[in-house]
């Protein structure tokens, strides 16, 4: 590994405003999640029954909810949930997308057709509807919501990996590999995969905002995280009940969510400019 | 006969890129007379296409053009957007390298030619008749049917004919042909060349032919200019330049041509690579590949020197080889 291309990359990162802004925003989210108990003045459960619906004040910066719980503390702990969604959801999608995409693109033929038909099935029903159906079957909780969204979203990643694999498959270095007697698995994972890593990074970072929003939406609809979880979607959904009485309950968790999603979006834009400028933003 | 139609004077074209400017064309001057075929030859990326686009003001916003481009005495650079639109197609037509990309896939070819004709206030039906006429002029087989066909239903040669018909439709005095046959088969190339020569004979259209193919130049051109890395290195009458190439680059190019007479001879190649033109520092751009290069070549721009009234070149030492 030569150091200079990497330093060149760092230099272009430094010049890319989107990357820097997104990175700093995301870093702030990660740090908040890591030090949640230090930052939050209260625990996210068990409120003060005498301080229900307190509007924002020095003691409760963002006010309290219907059970007298400190909204700020709950939002701080909610960061952990959102990052968990991004991490697990992203990993599942990446894994399915890479494995299926590589196999389809590499082998083509019947395997490919079968998988494409399966992917078409997920196109046939809008993602949110499909996710709702999956959650119905496997039950309403956060982990299941993450799985449901990942099951719906992996297909688009698999398509891109498949297309890239197909275009790489016929290149000279693959033929060299074949001539050296490399196994198909080695060709896929040691020859092709490293070449699509930049595209993968871009794809994942650009699909994460959607993953977070969809999963949070499931929680919002009541089929994701269950109370008393400080999931931002759930908090907004509870907040709507008291929207005339305590509007802050619906505003601030949403604002935190938008900030987090935006950090991923901006970082994704930056990474795309850096790694794969020809790739279009996901429609 | 040799009335001047187009004159470029000290034209420099710089592209704004990430870190500064890329000097694509440096200090190019030449002229084209009425009803003559003037060829510009050079390797790909030498700036010949950029020069062609700059005449029509078709370069992107990142291009900066200095110097003057006079057409019939009018400075095209100084015209307003509306005026240059009036010049395009009407006074100067242009055809491009890839005839598939150059036609809009969603309209019939006749429709696209008619679009140009209708700019002169001709009504649609009248224009359509003219389209058929034009198709006959350029020897399009089955013109009525072809006019109703979409670009993807035609061969490359036919599409290039459509482009010629389109650009011919408003009788421009000058037609710029930017590598018109590069994307076509050799047999089709001959047909297109025939049409181009016919244009000159019958319609007295002047043609600026941009190509990297010396054979083509010998066949049809009256005068030729050779470009290297954005500089015009030699210019003159085709017979003079072919008989007595002077500039070392031209000579090497000629030597690199495969000749039928020298069957045994190896194809000669030129050592070195084209320099990256990020800064317009003085000096001959061919110096790093030139067999005659001396120190002065790297530090100073070579002078333009004349061999005859119709033959000039840019070099310090070229004649010493004579």
């Amino acid at each position: 590994m030569n150091a200079s291309p990497f330093r060149e990359f760092l230099r272009s990162c430094y010049k890319n405003l989107n990357f820097i802004v997104g990175f700093i925003m995301l870093l702030s989210v990660i740090l908040t999640a890591a030090f949640a108990p230090k930052i939050a003045p209260y625990y996210f459960e068990g409120g003060n029954p005498n301080a229900k619906f307190t509007s924002p004040c020095p003691e409760y910066i963002l006010g309290t909810d219907n059970m007298g719980r400190d909204l700020f503390s709950r939002i701080v702990y909610g960061t952990r949930i959102t990052l968990k969604v991004a991490l697990i959801g992203g990993t599942i999608q990446l894994f399915l997308g890479v494995v299926v995409g590589l196999f389809c693109g590499f082998y083509g033929g019947v395997v490919d057709r079968f998988m494409l038909f399966f992917a078409d099935l997920t196109w046939c029903v809008p993602g949110m509807v499909m996710a709702l159906a999956v959650v119905t079957v496997i039950g309403s909780n956060l982990t299941n919501a993450i799985i449901a969204i990942a099951l719906v979203n992996w297909a688009s990643m698999a398509r891109t990996v498949r297309a890239k694999t197909m275009s790489l498959k016929n290149m000279a270095f693959i033929e060299t590999g074949v001539a050296f007697g490399e196994s198909n698995l080695a060709l896929m994972f040691r020859y092709i995969l490293p070449n699509i890593v930049p595209a993968l990074i871009v794809m994942v970072s650009m699909s994460l905002p959607g993953t977070i929003m969809s999963t949070t939406t499931l929680s919002f609809l009541g089929v994701g995280s269950q109370p008393p979880s400080p999931d931002w979607g759930l908090m907004v959904s509870d907040g709507i009940k008291y929207i005339t009485k305590a509007p802050w309950l619906a505003i601030y968790p949403g604002l935190a969510l938008v900030y987090t999603v935006l950090s991923f979006t901006i970082l994704g834009e930056g990474l795309r400019d850096l790694l794969d400028p020809r790739m279009k933003s996901l429609g | 006969m040799s009335e001047e139609l187009l004159r470029l004077e000290n034209v420099c074209i710089d592209y704004k890129v990430r870190d500064g400017y890329l000097s694509a064309v440096k200090d190019v001057s030449f002229h084209i007379n009425r009803s003559e075929i003037f060829a510009i030859v050079g390797e790909s990326g030498c700036g010949k296409s950029t020069v062609a686009h700059s005449i029509m003001r078709l370069l992107g916003k990142n291009a900066k053009v200095t110097g003057s481009i006079l057409f019939n005495g009018r400075d095209l650079q100084a015209l307003s957007d509306k005026e240059i639109t009036g010049v395009r197609g009407h006074d100067i037509g242009m055809i491009f390298q890839n005839p598939l990309d150059s036609l809009n896939p969603v309209y019939t070819t006749g429709n696209q030619v008619n679009e140009a004709i209708m700019l002169d206030g001709v009504d649609k039906l009248e224009g359509w008749k003219k389209v058929i006429e034009l198709y006959k002029d350029i020897k399009m087989p089955d013109p009525e049917k072809r006019a109703r066909a979409f670009p993807h239903e035609m061969s490359g040669g036919m599409r290039q004919r459509v482009m010629i018909a389109m650009m011919l439709s408003r009788n421009p005095a000058l037609l710029i042909a930017d590598e018109p046959t590069t994307a076509l088969d050799v047999t089709i190339e001959a047909q297109i060349l025939e049409i181009i020569s016919q244009l000159k004979r019958e319609f007295h259209t002047a043609i600026m032919l941009i190509t990297h193919n010396f054979g083509l130049v010998a066949e049809v051109a009256d005068r030729v200019a050779i470009m290297y890395a954005g500089e015009l290195v030699e210019e003159g009458n085709v017979y003079e330049v072919f008989a007595h190439p002077v500039h070392p680059y031209t000579r090497l190019l000629m030597a690199a041509l495969p000749r039928q007479t020298k069957r045994e001879g190896r194809l000669q190649t030129i050592d070195g690579t084209v320099p990256r033109l990020t800064e317009s520092k003085p000096g001959c751009r061919f110096a790093n590949r030139c067999p005659l290069a001396k120190e002065i070549c790297f530090d100073q721009d070579p002078p333009v020197r004349r061999l005859s009234g119709t033959h000039s070149f840019q070099c310090f030492f070229a004649e010493e080889v004579e």
């Binding site: 949110m128 159906a133 929003m213 009541g222 089929v223 979607g233 907004v236 999603v261 | 037509g93 679009e115």
Partner: protein, 312 residues
């Protein structure tokens, strides 16, 4: 024509596959619908009776074929466990509500987004473009339910101009439609911009300029016309996605549409209703996809030829 028939057949196949998939998923569910219907502490005889009554004791394949037969011949989707009425009666009144909202939203959204995207492409790198690009970046990061919350706060709570929820007068339409439009505005604008930019860089645009067409004429006849191909396809394909977007909005604004029913049925595990709604939505999706193919064929002669059954 042949092509459309082929697409239609594939579409039917897809709908059947999806409905079977959903059916078997619900069949394999851990929660037993028989228990749900019988209520707490019902006797075993009662359970068997209910299972028999609804045909729930038969094997999966037979149940599915029966279900499909009933659906196709009598539009009988079974009985809603929760409301104890035929599912179709429940669903059929909700379809027009969702469709109306969706179509109005789509029209308004595209009327705003397409011109905005085109303008961005034409005025690339100007202040306007940068503002819109930045705006859409932020907009794509806002989940639709929070947009709805903000609109509610602004128009219903703060200024008291519009009702919060319900569905009785025209005023009730305004907030949901506004939320729906804002939800999809950003991605449509971005798509239009990137399509128009692609078209602007095409060689045929240079040709149009070279033959003497004015900038305006070129932009309308060549850039707009060609970028409309993908945009129109996108419009027809986006309808089902808008419907799914309305699941959330219908729940928030308490609108009696398909989405609100779907989410409630999922929460109450009212499977017949869920199955029926997914069936209908998948049919709509397939129809819209075929529609998109037809639009594409109509707008792009290259497709028209290849779908006409002829070879190149």
């Amino acid at each position: 024509m042949q092509y459309i028939v082929k697409r239609l057949l594939i579409g039917v196949l897809l709908v059947i596959c999806v409905s079977f998939l959903v059916f078997s998923m619900l069949y394999l569910m851990p929660g037993d619908p028989v228990h749900l219907m019988a209520g707490e502490g019902a006797s075993q005889e009662r359970l068997d009776e209910i299972a028999k009554q609804y045909g729930l004791d038969k094997p999966l394949m037979e149940q599915y074929v029966n279900w499909l037969k009933n659906v196709l011949t009598r539009r009988n989707f079974g009985i809603s466990f929760k409301y104890k009425v035929p599912v179709w009666d429940l669903v059929k009144v909700r379809i027009p509500v969702s469709l109306k909202l969706t179509l109005v939203t789509a029209v308004i959204q595209y009327l705003i987004a397409v011109p905005m995207g085109l303008l961005c492409a034409y005025k690339k790198d100007t202040l306007f473009d940068r503002l819109v690009v930045g705006g859409t970046l932020v907009m794509t990061s806002i989940p639709s339910f929070w947009i709805a919350v903000l609109l509610m706060l602004l128009f219903a709570v703060k200024f008291d101009l519009l009702p919060l929820s319900g569905f009785t007068s025209w005023k009730h339409y305004v907030l949901p439609i506004m939320a729906g439009v804002l939800g999809g505005l950003a991605s449509t604008t971005r798509l239009t911009k990137s399509e128009a930019l692609d078209a602007l860089n095409e060689k045929y645009v240079t040709t149009a300029y070279a033959k003497g067409l004015s900038e305006r004429a070129t932009r309308i006849r060549h850039v707009l016309r060609n970028s409309m191909i993908i945009i129109c396809v996108q419009i027809s394909q986006s309808i089902p996605w808008l419907i799914s977007g309305y699941i959330i909005l219908e729940k928030i604004f308490v609108i009696p549409g398909m989405g609100g029913l779907l989410i409630n049925s999922i929460i109450y595990q009212d499977f017949n209703v869920v199955q029926c709604l997914i069936f209908i939505i998948s049919i709509m999706t397939v129809i819209c996809n075929i529609l998109a193919d037809m639009v594409l064929g109509l707008l792009d002669p290259r497709i028209r030829i290849s779908t006409g059954g002829g070879d190149k």
